[in-house]
């Protein structure tokens, strides 16, 4: 629990489908635990567990209002992983584009050779 919130922890946090649903609900505005329980159709202990994870990596913040705790999406946290992910996003696209160029060159070479042979 003493682990610092790192980018990969943020990734772990959003890898869980329920937590992504929670983020979606919170994207619509502040919610209490009860509203999240109702929105997700899951138990309160489950919701609380997931909220702890999201709070820990600072994707969600909480404030007190009277007897309620209200949870809010921390856009900066999401933007951070989006930006971080964005750096890697084109890698496989790029790799296969480059591979394609190599393959086309091999194809041209081979067609050149075989048309000479024919």
């Amino acid at each position: 629990m003493a682990r610092a919130a790192t980018t990969s922890d943020v990734f772990n946090a959003v890898a869980e489908p329920r937590r992504r649903q929670m983020l979606e609900l919170l994207a619509g505005g502040e919610r209490s635990v009860g509203e999240l329980v109702a929105g997700l159709g899951t138990s309160q202990p489950q919701v609380s567990k997931h909220l702890r994870v999201l709070l820990e990596v600072e994707l969600v913040s909480v404030r007190r209002e009277g007897r309620h705790r209200l949870y809010r999406l921390q856009g900066q946290g999401l933007k951070q992983i989006h930006d971080w992910a964005g750096r890697f996003e084109p890698l496989w696209q790029e790799r296969f584009d480059e591979l394609d160029a190599v393959v086309q060159e091999l194809k041209n070479e081979e067609e050149g050779v075989s048309s000479d042979e024919r």
């Binding site: 990734f11 890898a15 790029e94 394609d100 190599v102 086309q104």
Partner: protein, 173 residues
Amino acid sequence: MSDSPEVANSGKAVVTTIGDRQIEVVREFDAPRHLVFRAYTEPELIKRWWAGRRATVTVAEVDLRVGGNYRYAARAKEGFEEGFEAALREVAFRGTFKEVVANERLVYTEIYEGQPDEEALTTVTFEESDGRTVLRMLVEMGSPETRDLMASQMEVGVQEGFDVIDEIVAELG
């Protein structure tokens, strides 16, 4: 005509997650599979594509037989260092071939040397039809953590699970 430049489904890698530990990347090439296989496995050809456009391959060693090892390393080109290991500005992957069927199928382990405890198993198939080849790469992670690590280095933006992040970020402007 077989050489029409734009054919549906070709030219763009499609990345999807399967279950909680697998990622599949599918890409079609307008060439027979023995050429795609060569480009995928010959060191001198690997050097030309494996690092993408933002890095340069510094090592490509391939012992293409069952039990044989490979090792690839890449160094960031100037201005693109950010995603690389801070100390070396270099990333390296290595592994061992488990299955080698020329022009058809490869199965190999994959270890990112920055995190040597996490191993992935990759299966690549090359299917040819009408002179075109569909390359299907299935990466199976040892743990969800490895998956997230690898996923983040793949095409995170289009993965189903991360779409919500794109939407929310778009709303944030």
